[in-house]
Amino acid sequence: MKGERLGEFEEFTLLAVRALGDHTYAVPVQQFVEESTGRGASIGAIYAALARLEKKGFVRSGMSDARAQRGGRARRMFQVTPSGLRTARELHQVREKIWNTIAEGRRS
C-alpha cells in the first residue's frame, strides 16, 4: 500500500485523466499512458490504478449515458479531484526541486 502517496503508474494514470480534460474513461487513458510512456499498459492495470486512485480520493467516477457506438453500453467517466490535483502538483514540485539541485551541482 502506498497510502496517500502516488505510485509511478498511478501518477501517470492520474495525469492522463487530467490531460485528457477530465470526464474521460479507461480506453483513452490506457492509450494516453501507453503513448506517452512508450510502454505497454494493459487495461487491467489501468482499471486497478483507477480503482486505487478512487479509493485514495484522487479521482471520482460516475457512469455516463448509454451510447449507440458502444452497443448501447455506458462508460465509467473519471475526473481528477482537487486533492488528486494537489498531490500531483506537490510531487512535481518535489521532483523539480531535486532536478534543480542536480543542475546547480553540475554548474559548480
Binding site: 480506453v27 487495461i43 487491467g44 467516477s61 453500453r73
Partner: protein, 881 residues
C-alpha cells in the same frame, strides 16, 4: 472494421471472469480498444493485445469499488467447488501415480509432437511477411511487346520511380549476393545480402527490433555504407546482442556499419529474409561495378506502396506514361525489348497460384496428423480413466447415494481429467521445447524460418490441453452419468452397465486402430516415395560430374580476369588424366538456376530454366542431341544468336511442328532474333521436386558468372584434389569451390528423406501410443472378466481357448477400426500425392505392410495380458468370490 471480432478463446476467457456489475462497461471498453488497434496496427496486434488485456483482468481484477454485491454467493460457491474438485483430483492422482504418469506421458507426447508440427506450420504459413498493411503493397511488372516480366533495367527504374505521387516506388536487386565476412574481428560467416533502395524497408514496415531501418539518406553515394540485419541473423549469428547495432562488417574491403535489426518475423518481399539489407548506393563500392552495368548487375524488381486512397488503376495510369516515354534500352542491353507500360499485381500473390493448392493440401494433411496424434493421446488417457473410473464406481455410487447430484459427480470427473490434460500440456510444452530444434534441424529448415514459440503456439498448446483433458474425460463422465447406483452398490464385479462399457471400450479400441493406421500408412507412403525418388530419372549421370565455381573479382577488371581464367583453366584441363570432358556454363546442376516465368500462357505460369553454356556442355552433362545440332565453339565465341531447347520445351511449345530455325521469341518474347537450332534430351537440373524439364540453352556471353562443369572418368572425389590443385594456382585473385554435382543431388533428396523420417517418427509415436493404449484396455477388460475367465477354466476351458476368446473379442473392434482408417488413409494419401515420387497414393505395398504391422502389434499388445489371464490358478480367484 467492426466486422472482425476478438478471438473466440479470448472472448470466452473474458466471459468466465467474475467481473460482476462492471461487466458491460469493461466488455465495451475492451471492444473499443480492440477496434482502435485493429484499425491502427492490424488484427494480429489487436488479437494479441486483447488476450493480454483479458488476462490482465485476472491479475488485477479491478475490485468493483462501487458495487460490493457483484460477487454473488452462488459464484463464490462455484469457485469453492472448483477448488474442492481440484484438491480432490490431486488426492486421487496421488493415490494412483501409475495412471497419472502414463496418462500425462501419453498426452504430453501427443501434445508435444502436435505443438511442434504446429510451430513449424505456424512459422511457414501463419506468420505473415511482417509487412504493414500488405494490401497497399503492389508488385510492379514491366510490360513489353509480348508480355510482362518481374524485372526492370536499373536505368529504367531510376527514370520512372518518381513519376507518380500516388505510389512510392522502391526496388531490390534480384540476385542475393552471398559473401563471407568477419563481423568485427570474428570468424568469417557466409552471409546473404539483398541490395535495396533506401525507402524499400520503410515502405514495407515501420517496426524494428533495434536501431533503425534504412533511409533514403543511406542510399546516396556519399553516405557511409550501412546495413540492416534480419532478426533471424541477429539471433543466430550475433547472439541477439543489443549492442550489435554499430558493429562493423567487412565485405570486399568495405566496412559496413550495422544500423538496425529488423522486426521479428519480417521477411520483406521474399519467401525468407536475407541476412542483410544494404542500400543499392553501396553496390559500386562493394561490388566494384555501377548498378547501371547490365552485365555486372542483376536486374531490379520493383514494388510500390500505394498512397492512401489510391487504387491500382490510378497508380497504373500515372506510371504508364512515364514508362512509355522511357528511352529504349541501350545497345549493350540488346536482349531487352523496350518497356511499354506497367502491370500492377498483388505483392502478396508472389506465391504462384498453382502452389497454393499444394500448400492447402499440405496444411490439411498436417492438421490431420496433429488431430490423429491428439485423438490417440486422448483415447489412451480415456481408456486409462475409464479403467480407473470403473474401479471407482463404488465410490462414485456412494457419493450419489449420499446426495451428490450426477452433474456434480460428472464435474468432479471432468475436473480430474482436465487437470490431467493441463499436466499433459505442461509435459507437452517441455517436449516441444526439446523437440522443436531437433525437428527444425531434421527438416533442414532455412535459418530465416522463425519457428520460435509465439502466442499462436502457446494458444494452441493451451487449447489442445484443455480439449484433450475434456475429451479424455468425456467417456468416463458419460459412463458415470448413466450408471445405475443400485446395481453399483450391490454388485462388486461387472455391473448392470457392462454392455455399455463394452461398447465404449470397443469404440476406444476402434478409434485407436483407425488413427494409427492412417499415420502408419502415411509414413509408409512417404518412405516408399523417398526410396523411389532415388530412382527418378534426372536425365544425366550425376555421379561423375564435378562443378568448379570460381569467384571472380567484381567490375571491369574482373571480366578480364574471368575470361583469362576460364581460358587457361580449360587449357590446363585438356588432356588431364581422368578428365573426360569439360565445359563452361553459368548455371551448374543443383547450384541455383536462372529461370524465366511466362505469365500469359494458357494453362497458367510456365517456368523455363535458362542456362548459357560453352559448346561442350551437352556432351559433358551427357545430354543426347535429339534433333538438329548444338552450337559450336566458334558460335559461342562470336556470340551467335542461336539456341538449343530441351525436349520438354519443344513438346510444349511446338507440338507436332518442326521447330528448327524458328525464332526463340516464339517461346520468350524478350529473346529477339535468336534461332532454335537443336533439341536435346530432358534433364532435371534444378529442383527434383518440381521436375521442371523445360530448358533453353544459349551460348555463354558473361564469363564473369561462368563456372566449369567437368566429367571425370571415375568417381569425382578421386579427382577433386587434383583438379583443385591444378586450377587454384592459375590466378590468386580467383577463389575456387569444387564440388561433385552428386552432392547437390543428395541434398535435394535430403528433403524427401527428411519428410519420410519425420513421418516415420510420428508413425512410431502413433504406434507406441496405440500399443500402450490397446494393452491398457485389454488388461483392464481381462481384469473385469477375471471371474468369468476363472469359471471357464474351472469348467474345463484350456489356456488356449481363453486366449483365443480374448483375442477374438479385442480384435473385432480393431479390425473394424482398421477398415475405417484405411478409407481415411486413402483420402490422406491423395493429399500428399504431389510429394510422392514414383508411387501412387494407393500404393498396395504401403497399405498392406501398414495393416500387417498394426495387426501384429495389436495381437502382441493383447496376447500378453491374455496369456497371463489364461495361466491363472482357478482356485485362487474362486476363493475371492
Amino acid at each position: 472494421m467492426s466486422s472482425q471480432r476478438p478471438p473466440a478463446l479470448a472472448r470466452w476467457l473474458l466471459r468466465i471472469q467474475p467481473l460482476g456489475a462492471r461487466r458491460a462497461e469493461i466488455e465495451a471498453d475492451l471492444l473499443e480498444l480492440y477496434e482502435v488497434r485493429l484499425q491502427n496496427r492490424g488484427h494480429r496486434h489487436a488479437n494479441w493485445r486483447y488476450y493480454r488485456d483479458v488476462l490482465s483482468l485476472w491479475r488485477a481484477p479491478g475490485e468493483p469499488q462501487t458495487d460490493p454485491s457483484s460477487r454473488t454467493v452462488a459464484r463464490r460457491g462455484t469457485s469453492l467447488d472448483i477448488v474442492r474438485d481440484l484438491t480432490y483430483a490431486g488426492r486421487m492422482w496421488r493415490r494412483a501415480p501409475g495412471v497419472v504418469t502414463v496418462a500425462v506421458a501419453g498426452l504430453g507426447i501427443a501434445i508435444g509432437f502436435s505443438a511442434s508440427i504446429f510451430s513449424i506450420v505456424n512459422g511457414l504459413a501463419f506468420k505473415p511477411s511482417g509487412i504493414d498493411e500488405p494490401s497497399s503493397i503492389v508488385r510492379i511488372y514491366r510490360g513489353s511487346e509480348g508480355g510482362y516480366s518481374s524485372t526492370w533495367l536499373y536505368s529504367e527504374f531510376e527514370h520512372f520511380r518518381h513519376a507518380s505521387p500516388a505510389v512510392a516506388v522502391e526496388g531490390w536487386l534480384m540476385t542475393l549476393q552471398r559473401f563471407s565476412a568477419p563481423v568485427d574481428s570474428g570468424q568469417g560467416q557466409s552471409i546473404s545480402a539483398m541490395f535495396v533502395t533506401g525507402g524499400f524497408l520503410p515502405a514495407l514496415t515501420r517496426r524494428v527490433t533495434a536501431g533503425r531501418l534504412l533511409t533514403n539518406a543511406d542510399d546516396s553515394p556519399e553516405a557511409p555504407p550501412v546495413a540492416v540485419v534480419s532478426h533471424g541473423y541477429w539471433v543466430r549469428q550475433l547472439g541477439a546482442d543489443p549492442a550489435a547495432v554499430g558493429r562493423i562488417m567487412r565485405w570486399n574491403g568495405v566496412d559496413i556499419t550495422i544500423v538496425g535489426v529488423s522486426a521479428s518475423g519480417f521477411r520483406g518481399t521474399s519467401e525468407s529474409a536475407p541476412d542483410l539489407w544494404v542500400p543499392i548506393a553501396a553496390f559500386p563500392r562493394v561490388m566494384g561495378a555501377s548498378p547501371r552495368d547490365v552485365d555486372a548487375v542483376p536486374q531490379i524488381a520493383v514494388i510500390g506502396r500505394l498512397a492512401e486512397g489510391t487504387s491500382w488503376r490510378q497508380a497504373e495510369a500515372q506510371l504508364n506514361p512515364a514508362v512509355a516515354s522511357l528511352p529504349p534500352p541501350a545497345a549493350s542491353d540488346r536482349d531487352w525489348q523496350p518497356a511499354r507500360g506497367v502491370h500492377l499485381d498483388s505483392a502478396e500473390g508472389s506465391l504462384p497460384r498453382s502452389k497454393r493448392g499444394a500448400i492447402v493440401a499440405a496444411l490439411a494433411l498436417v492438421t490431420g496428423v496433429i488431430a490423429l496424434l491428439l485423438i490417440l493421446g486422448c483415447v489412451n488417457v480415456a481408456s486409462l480413466l475409464l479403467a480407473n473410473g470403473v474401479a471407482r464406481r463404488r465410490e462414485l455410487g456412494v457419493r450419489i447415494a449420499l446426495g451428490a447430484s450426477r452433474a456434480r459427480v460428472v464435474r468432479q470427473l471432468l475436473t480430474e481429467s482436465l487437470s490431467l490434460g493441463l499436466l499433459g500440456g505442461l509435459a507437452g510444452l517441455l517436449i516441444t521445447l526439446w523437440l522443436l530444434p531437433v525437428l527444425t534441424r531434421l527438416a533442414n529448415a532455412p535459418a530465416s524460418l522463425d519457428v520460435s514459440m509465439d502466442g499462436n503456439v502457446l494458444a494452441f498448446l493451451v487449447a489442445v490441453s484443455i480439449a484433450a483433458g475434456l475429451g479424455a474425460g468425456v467417456a468416463t463422465a458419460r459412463h458415470a452419468a448413466h450408471d445405475d447406483v443400485n446395481s453399483v452398490l450391490k454388485a462388486s464385479g461387472r455391473g448392470g452397465s457392462a454392455g455399455r462399457l463394452d461398447r465404449i471400450r470397443a469404440t476406444v479400441m476402434g478409434v485407436q486402430a483407425a488413427a494409427s493406421i492412417v499415420l502408419v500408412v502415411l509414413a509408409a507412403l512417404l518412405t516408399r516415395g523417398m526410396v523411389a525418388a532415388t530412382r527418378v530419372d534426372i536425365g544425366f549421370a550425376a555421379d561423375r560430374v564435378l562443378a568448379v565455381r570460381p569467384a571472380f573479382p567484381p567490375g571491369e577488371n574482373g571480366r578480364a580476369v574471368a575470361r583469362a581464367f576460364i581460358d587457361t583453366a580449360t587449357e590446363r584441363l585438356h588432356g588431364m588424366p581422368g578428365v573426360v570432358s569439360y565445359s563452361a556454363a553459368t548455371s551448374m546442376p543443383y547450384g541455383g538456376a536462372t529461370r524465366v516465368t511466362i505469365f500469359n500462357r494458357p494453362g497458367g505460369r510456365y517456368t523455363i530454366n535458362y542456362n548459357t553454356t560453352d559448346a561442350e556442355y551437352f556432351s559433358t552433362l551427357g545430354l543426347r542431341v535429339l534433333r538438329g545440332r548444338t552450337y559450336t565453339r566458334a558460335e559461342v565465341r562470336d556470340r551467335a544468336r542461336v539456341a538449343v531447347v530441351s525436349e520438354a520445351l519443344a513438346r510444349d511449345f511446338f507440338p507436332g511442328e518442326d521447330l528448327l530455325g524458328q525464332p526463340l521469341s516464339r517461346v520468350v518474347e524478350d529473346e529477339g532474333d535468336a534461332l532454335i537450332i537443336g533439341v536435346v534430351s530432358n534433364a532435371i537440373t534444378t529442383r527434383l521436386r518440381e521436375r521442371s524439364e523445360a530448358a533453353i540453352y544459349l551460348p555463354v556471353t558473361n564469363w564473369q558468372s561462368a563456372s566449369l562443369l567437368i566429367r571425370t572418368a571415375s568417381s569425382p572425389s578421386l579427382h577433386l584434389a587434383t583438379i583443385r590443385s591444378a586450377l587454384q594456382p592459375l590466378d590468386s585473385r580467383v577463389r575456387l569451390e569444387v564440388t561433385p554435382v552428386s552432392e547437390g543431388l543428395a541434398s535435394q533428396l535430403g528433403e524427401s528423406r527428411t519428410l519420410a523420417s519425420l513421418a516415420s517418427t510420428f508413425a512410431a509415436v502413433a504406434l507406441c501410443l496405440a500399443i500402450v493404449g490397446l494393452h491398457g484396455v485389454t488388461a483392464f477388460v481381462i481384469n473385469q472378466r477375471s471371474q468369468e475367465i476363472t469359471l471357464r477354466i474351472a469348467l474345463g476351458a484350456t489356456g488356449r481357448d481363453i486366449v483365443r476368446m480374448l483375442l477374438g473379442d479385442s480384435l473385432r473392434p480393431v479390425v473394424l477400426g482398421l477398415g475405417a482408417g484405411i478409407f481415411v488413409a486413402l483420402g490422406a494419401g491423395r493429399l500428399i500425392a504431389g510429394t510422392l515420387y514414383g508411387i501412387g497414393p494407393a500404393d498396395p505395398i504401403s497399405f498392406g505392410a501398414s495393416v500387417l504391422i498394426l495387426l501384429l502389434s495389436t495381437i502382441a499388445a493383447i496376447i500378453v495380458p491374455a496369456r497371463r489371464a489364461a495361466r491363472v490358478e482357478p482356485a485362487a480367484v474362486l476363493k475371492q468370490v
